[in-house]
């Protein structure tokens, strides 16, 4: 566990991961608990009166099924936000945060290269997000069984995978910005700003006809365009790991060369 930077970083994330897992599971189960009463309210008839763009924007077109309900209630903003915030928080902490706390110094004077430190920390962040994704998947399946939501095992896995990719992408950007700047606050601000911009781009794309050509650029859109509890993985989803790799790849030479902060 403590032999590698990867293992050490993952070990340091354990308490937070337990808390976030509980949060994700409770979020899903609260929604599952509401589901039977929503179903009896004949919500589709109510929603029929809503303007079409609004329904599309908040992904509420299909509230009559368990899948549609979860897509609209959880996956349109709450779960993507949870995964993005988790990813950014870990990402900003793992390199820039540890550097500012003086914890990187004694690691940086070992023969381990800075590249290896950065890559292993990014890998630990990805594993953390993936664990949260698995928890989400299991929570959806249990909630679905308990509340009779009839959500498929594979579609639920796809949706969990997609929001995990989204969280990992922003986490990687946060690690990259933190590694390049050495400042946790900059990593949080820049990546948080990008996340809000990504959501707005998605939202505006849903609401306004004219902006649709650009919405594919939004990672939020890439993640939830097909549900995300849906029949297939959107091809655009491949952009999320690609952007993550590029971000870390750009940060590597900067991190190798720059001054490290003292304790």
């Amino acid at each position: 566990m403590f032999r590698t930077t990867f293992g050490r970083s993952l070990y340091g994330m354990r308490h937070g991961l337990i808390g976030w897992s509980v949060g994700v599971a409770l979020t899903v189960w609260v929604m599952a608990a509401i589901w039977p009463s929503m179903q009896s309210m004949n919500i589709d008839a109510l929603l029929a009166q809503y303007p079409e763009p609004l329904k599309e924007a908040f992904n509420v077109a299909d509230y009559g099924t368990g899948t549609g309900f979860l897509n609209g209630e959880l996956f349109s903003i709450v779960l993507p936000a949870i995964f993005v915030v988790y990813g950014i928080g870990r990402g900003a902490r793992l390199v820039a945060g540890e550097e500012q706390d003086g914890l990187l110094e004694l690691v940086a004077v070992t023969p381990a290269t800075r590249t290896s430190i950065l890559v292993q920390k990014a890998a630990a962040m990805v594993v953390g997000v993936a664990v949260l994704g698995v928890v989400l998947w299991v929570a959806i399946l249990l909630g679905s069984i308990a509340a009779g939501m009839d959500v498929g095992v594979v579609p639920a896995a796809r949706a969990s995978f997609l929001v995990s990719l989204l969280g990992a992408e922003f986490g990687a950007v946060a690690i990259a910005v933190g590694a390049a700047s050495g400042r946790r606050s900059i990593a949080l601000a820049v990546t948080g700003g990008l996340a809000v911009a990504a959501y707005l781009l998605y939202l505006v794309g849903q609401l306004v006809e004219g902006d649709r050509p650009y919405r594919w650029l939004s990672p939020v859109y890439q993640a939830i365009v097909d549900g995300p509890i849906g029949p297939s993985l959107p091809g655009l989803a491949v952009l999320m790991p690609l952007v993550a790799l590029v971000a870390v790849g750009v940060a590597v030479p900067v991190f190798e060369r720059r001054d490290l902060a003292g304790s």
Binding site: F2, R3, L103, V107, V109, T110, P111, R257, S263
Partner: protein, 311 residues
Amino acid sequence: MGTTAPAADRTAPPPEDGPVVDTRGLTKRFGDTVALDRLDLQVPRGCIFGYLGPNGAGKSTTIRLLLGLLRPTSGTAHVLGHDVVRERRRVHRLVGYLPGDVSIDPDLTARQYLDHLASLRGGVDPAVRDDLVERFDLDVNRRIGTLSHGNRQKVAIVQACMHEPELLVLDEPTQGLDPLVQRTFLDLLRATRDRGGTVFLSSHVLSEVEDVADVVAVVRDGRLVATTSVADLVERTRRRLVLTTHSPADLVALRATDGVRSAEPSDGGVEVVVEGSMAALFRLAAPWGIERVVADEVDLAGVFLHLYEGD
């Protein structure tokens, strides 16, 4: 030059007589601030090298440059024959580092933390590490977050020494160590030197260095002021002491004594500033019946200013 020199082999150890640390015009600027100004420093092998200077003189900047944590603005630095920028990994393999302000993972036990750093170094001799742990009486099973400052410093000492580095770099190391631990620590430095290693010891307190160092370099305002033996530095150091005597002191005779720079009456005694040896002073004062001597810690800034002006 009629002979062709063989191509320099980077992997070869530096010549035994070459300096362990060798900087040429080493300069570091942070924005408009010059933290280190064209430093030419040579540290000979197998000695304890004191690196003295007041706070903010550029000591930590020098150390962080030598360790590759900072990049030089200009100039070069070699540690054990390896360029600290281009051959940073080689330097890291051969050097142990004890930072002044120790920040250690509070989440791990000392054992876990030492294991972690050891494996990043590709493993260390467990016998050496266990010996250090024992010598400093360190409880490795406690979480570092629950350790006192002094115990945390012990963890830092062990990690710096456990791979038996050829060069040990210490930045203001004895702050916060209790006297007993300090003695163990200084013994360790001497043992490092005696097995052929080199110790680079920075400090702003002369007394911390004078007991243990062989050679001393003095920095001030980012520039090297002097490199000298400890004996010479002590010889040139001014100390202020207050002398209380049974019968009244003869101020005129005092002022005429070897080494005495000034003598003024003070509460119930005489305040004397002495440079170098105090032998003549005490020979003169002994007949007056010395009741008490209170000496100040040496004001290093003053010593350095004095040296600075002297050059």
